[in-house]
C-alpha cells in the first residue's frame, strides 16, 4: 500500500513539476494586453448626417440602435431580402419616433418606453415572401429586436396613413404587445375564451368574416392565443372607435361576446400590469395619426 501511495505521489510530483515548467514555457509568448482598443475610434463605417441624427434622437433618448443599413447577419436567412432605401429609412425613422415612441412616452413617461422598447430596429427594403404565399410584415425577437419589412414600399410624397398602419404601425404595436407579454404574461383566462377555435397554420384559409364570427378580430388572430392578444391590442389602437365598433358588430352574436370578453382582459392587463389605459393609448395614436401629414420626413 505504501508503495502504491508513494508511486502515486511520485507521479503527481513529476506531473506538477512538468506543469510548473510548462507554465513558464507558455509565458514565453509574453502576450501583454494591447493598449490600442480595436472597438474604439476606428469605425470602418463613415458617419453621415442621418447617423448623427439617429445618435441624438434614438440612441441618446431611448437607447435604441436604428439599423437602416442592411446587414446579412441581422436578417432572417430563410428569406431573400434586400436593403432599404436611404431616404425612405429617414422618413420611417421620423414616423416611428412620432407615431410610436413618443406616443408611449406621452402615455407612460420616458422611463417606461426606455425600459420596454426593443433595443434594435432593423429595416429591410423588400417584403419577406413566405412559402404559403403570404408576406411577413414584421418580426420581434425576444423583446430585443424588431425587423420591419418592405421599407421601399413607402410613398413619401403621398403619405397614406392606412398603408403605413398596415405595414408598420399596426405591426409595431403588435410586436410591442409581444414584448410586453414576454416581460409580464397576461392572465391565462384569456386563453380559455376561444380555446376551441385556434387554427394554428390554417389561419390563412379563414376569411375576415369567418374569423369575426369565430370571435377573432382578424384571421391572423385565430392562429394562437398570444397572437390573438396582440392583434386585439394593435387593431384597437390603430383605428378609431367607430372602426372598432363597426368591426365587432359585424360579427355573429357569439363572435361579439368572445371579442368583448377578450378585450376586457386586454384592457385590465394594460391597466393593472403597466398602469395605462388602452383607450388613452388609442386617443393619442389617433391624434398623432392625423398630425402626421405635417411631419417633416427629411433630415433638415
Amino acid at each position: 500500500m505504501n508503495y502504491i501511495r508513494k508511486s502515486i505521489l511520485q507521479g503527481i510530483l513529476v506531473a506538477f513539476s512538468v506543469v510548473g515548467t510548462g507554465v513558464s514555457f507558455s509565458s514565453c509568448s509574453s502576450e501583454e494586453l494591447d493598449p490600442v482598443s480595436v472597438f474604439a475610434s476606428e469605425t470602418t463605417e463613415v458617419q453621415n448626417d442621418f447617423d448623427r441624427w439617429l445618435e441624438k434622437n434614438y440612441v441618446d433618448n431611448y437607447n435604441i440602435e436604428f439599423k437602416y443599413r442592411f446587414e446579412f447577419n441581422e436578417s432572417d436567412k430563410s428569406y431573400n431580402l434586400i436593403a432599404a432605401d436611404y431616404n425612405k429609412s429617414i422618413a420611417l425613422s421620423k414616423l416611428i419616433k412620432f407615431l410610436w415612441l413618443e406616443t408611449y412616452e406621452e402615455l407612460c413617461g420616458t422611463d417606461f418606453i426606455r425600459s420596454y422598447c426593443p433595443k434594435v430596429i432593423f429595416l429591410i427594403g423588400s417584403p419577406a415572401y413566405d412559402e404559403s404565399g403570404s408576406v411577413v410584415l414584421g418580426a420581434a425577437e425576444g423583446g430585443l429586436k424588431i425587423s420591419l419589412f418592405n421599407v421601399n414600399g413607402i410613398n413619401t410624397e403621398n403619405l397614406n396613413v392606412e398603408e403605413l398602419n398596415k405595414w408598420y404601425f399596426k405591426t409595431m404595436h403588435h410586436e410591442f404587445g409581444h414584448i410586453l407579454n414576454q416581460k409580464k404574461s397576461y392572465p391565462t383566462e384569456f386563453n380559455e375564451v376561444s380555446a376551441k377555435n385556434y387554427q394554428s397554420e390554417s389561419w390563412v384559409n379563414l376569411t375576415d368574416q369567418e374569423a369575426l364570427d369565430m370571435g377573432f378580430v382578424s384571421n391572423y388572430a385565430s392562429s394562437e392565443a398570444s397572437e390573438d392578444f396582440v392583434e386585439i391590442l394593435s387593431i384597437y389602437v390603430t383605428n378609431d372607435a367607430a372602426y372598432w365598433d363597426n368591426l365587432v358588430s359585424s360579427a355573429s352574436e357569439t363572435g361579439q361576446q368572445a371579442i368583448n370578453a377578450k378585450l376586457n382582459i386586454v384592457k385590465s392587463y394594460c391597466k393593472e400590469t403597466f398602469g395605462f389605459d388602452l383607450d388613452n393609448l388609442r386617443r393619442i395614436v389617433q391624434r398623432r395619426s392625423a398630425e402626421v401629414v405635417d411631419l417633416n420626413l427629411n433630415l433638415d
Binding site: 502515486i8 507521479g11 434586400i82 436593403a83
Partner: protein, 436 residues
C-alpha cells in the same frame, strides 16, 4: 498484500504518470509558439488595415469601376455591367446598362470584416438590388428573384482589378477601372449597341473549318457539335462590352481558346484573338421574325381600316369596365397568336400562318384559342372585330417590310388585297394601346 501485485501496480502507475507528464509537456510546449509571431498585429487590427487599404483602392479610381457580374450560382441569366464610383463618405453612384444611359443612382456602401473583408451595398440601389430583389422586377420568380448578391467578399484588390466573390451565389465578379476619359453614358450606349447588333436566337460557330451549332437563352450560348457526333455541348455565359461579347471565362473547342467575339458591321464576329474562329448569326427572314417574336399593337399604328374595327373593341371593353393593357401578334406560350391583356386577364386567339418567300405571310384564324381567349371571343363582341384587320373569317395575305430586315424594330404589314389595311407593329412594348 501480494508483492507481485504491488510491483505491477507501481509499474502501471509509473507508466501512466510518465505518459501523462509527457502529454502535458507536449501540450504546454506547443501552446507556446517559440517560432515567433507570424503577424505583428492582431487579427482585428489587420482587418482595419485591410479595410483602409481597400477603401483607398476603391475611391482612388476617379472615373469609377466597371462591375462585371453574373448573378445566381449557376449564372443562368448570363452577365451584366454596372458602373460604380465609390466616394470616401460611404456613398456610391451607379449607372447600368439595364437603365437609361444617363441615369445615375446614389446609395451607400460599407466594407466589413466577417471571415474576410466584405464589400456590401447596404442601402437600396435599384441598379444593384435588381439582381437580388425577391419581387423579381427583371427575371426570376416572386419570392426569389434572380438570387443575386449585394454582399461580396474581396478576394483580391489592386489598382488594376478587384476580384469579388458573391456571398450567396459563390460566383466570381470582377471590377476593372473605367478609363479616365470615357463618359459613362457613352460606355453604356456602346454596350447596348453591341447587344442590339449581336443578339439572335441561333448562330453557327466556325472553328478553323469545323462548324458548330449555337443557340442562345438570356446571355448564355449553348454550343453543340453536329448531330452525327455525340450529344455533348458547352454552355458559355457572357456579357456585352462596347467591343462585343465577352465570356465569363474562356472555353476551349478543338483545342482552341475562345474568350469573346468582336462586334463588326458585316454580321461575322471573329474571336477576340483568333480570326479563324467566327460566330455568325442565323438571321431570320422577316416573316420568321414576325412569327418568332412579340410585335406590339397600338391604335395609332393600326391604319384607317384597322382603327374602324378596333373602335368596336374599345366600346365592348368600356361596357364591361375593362381596359386593354397590351396586345401583340407573335408567339406566346409556344403558340403563334393574337394575345391581349384586358385589365389583367391574358388570353390568346391562335393563328395559322404560311410563309411565302422571305417577306410575305398569310394569316388564318382557325377558331382556336386558350381558355381566356375563348371566353372573350364568345362574350365580348368587339374581340371578333379586333381580329378582322389581321384575319378573321377569311385568310389575309400581307407583304412585310421593316426599318431593317436584319434587325427590325418595327414591321409593317401591308394587306395585298385590302389597300387601306396597313398595320405597323413594334418590337418594344406598348401599354394601353388605345392611348398610344
Amino acid at each position: 498484500m501480494n508483492i507481485l501485485l504491488i510491483n505491477k501496480a507501481r509499474r502501471i502507475f509509473a507508466v501512466f504518470f510518465t505518459l501523462l507528464s509527457l502529454l502535458l509537456t507536449s501540450l504546454l510546449l506547443t501552446s507556446c509558439n517559440s517560432e515567433g509571431e507570424v503577424f505583428t498585429e492582431s487579427s482585428a487590427q489587420r482587418a482595419t488595415t485591410a479595410i483602409k487599404e481597400y477603401t483607398k483602392i476603391l475611391t482612388q479610381q476617379e472615373n469609377g469601376w466597371i462591375l462585371k457580374y453574373y448573378p445566381q450560382s449557376a449564372m443562368e441569366y448570363g452577365g451584366y455591367t454596372t458602373l460604380i464610383k465609390f466616394a470616401s463618405d460611404g456613398k456610391v453612384q451607379m449607372a447600368s446598362e439595364l437603365f437609361k444611359s444617363t441615369d445615375v443612382l446614389e446609395s451607400s456602401y460599407s466594407l466589413k470584416q466577417s471571415a474576410g473583408i466584405y464589400l456590401t451595398f447596404d442601402t437600396y440601389n435599384e441598379m444593384i438590388h435588381l439582381f437580388s430583389d425577391p419581387s423579381a422586377p427583371f427575371r426570376g420568380s416572386t419570392g426569389s428573384g434572380m438570387e443575386g448578391d449585394y454582399d461580396f467578399s474581396i478576394m483580391h484588390a489592386s489598382q488594376d482589378s478587384i476580384v469579388l466573390k458573391g456571398r450567396k451565389s459563390g460566383t466570381r465578379a470582377v471590377m476593372v477601372p473605367m478609363k479616365i476619359d470615357k463618359q459613362w453614358k457613352e460606355y453604356i450606349e456602346e454596350t447596348n449597341a453591341a447587344e442590339f447588333m449581336m443578339t439572335f436566337k441561333k448562330y453557327t460557330l466556325d472553328v478553323s473549318g469545323k462548324t458548330y451549332k449555337v443557340s442562345r437563352t438570356d446571355r448564355n450560348l449553348t454550343i453543340s457539335a453536329d448531330e452525327e457526333e455525340t450529344q455533348s455541348s458547352i454552355v458559355a455565359h457572357y456579357l456585352f462590352t462596347p467591343k462585343g461579347i465577352e465570356l465569363y471565362e474562356p472555353i476551349e473547342i478543338d483545342g482552341k481558346k475562345i474568350s469573346g467575339f468582336v462586334l463588326t458591321d458585316n454580321d461575322v464576329y471573329p474571336e477576340v484573338n483568333n480570326t479563324e474562329i467566327v460566330l455568325m448569326p442565323e438571321i431570320p427572314n422577316l416573316n420568321e421574325y414576325l412569327v418568332d417574336g412579340m410585335w406590339f399593337i397600338s391604335y395609332s399604328n393600326l391604319g384607317v381600316y384597322g382603327q374602324k374595327y378596333w373602335n368596336y373593341l374599345k366600346t365592348s371593353l368600356d361596357n364591361i369596365n375593362e381596359e386593354l393593357l397590351f396586345a401583340f401578334i407573335g408567339t406566346y406560350n409556344g403558340q403563334f397568336s393574337f394575345t391581349f391583356n384586358s385589365s389583367g386577364y391574358i388570353g390568346s386567339l391562335y393563328y395559322d400562318y404560311f410563309f411565302i418567300g422571305s417577306n410575305q405571310i398569310s394569316l388564318n384564324f382557325p377558331l382556336m384559342a386558350d381558355t381566356n381567349g375563348a371566353n372573350y371571343y364568345n362574350n365580348v363582341a368587339g374581340m371578333k372585330s379586333a381580329l378582322v384587320p389581321f384575319a378573321h373569317s377569311s385568310t389575309r395575305f400581307f407583304n412585310l417590310s421593316a426599318d431593317d430586315v436584319k434587325r427590325p424594330t418595327w414591321i409593317k404589314l401591308t394587306d395585298k388585297y385590302e389597300k387601306t389595311n396597313i398595320i405597323v407593329l413594334t418590337k418594344s412594348i406598348v401599354t394601353y394601346p388605345f392611348k398610344n
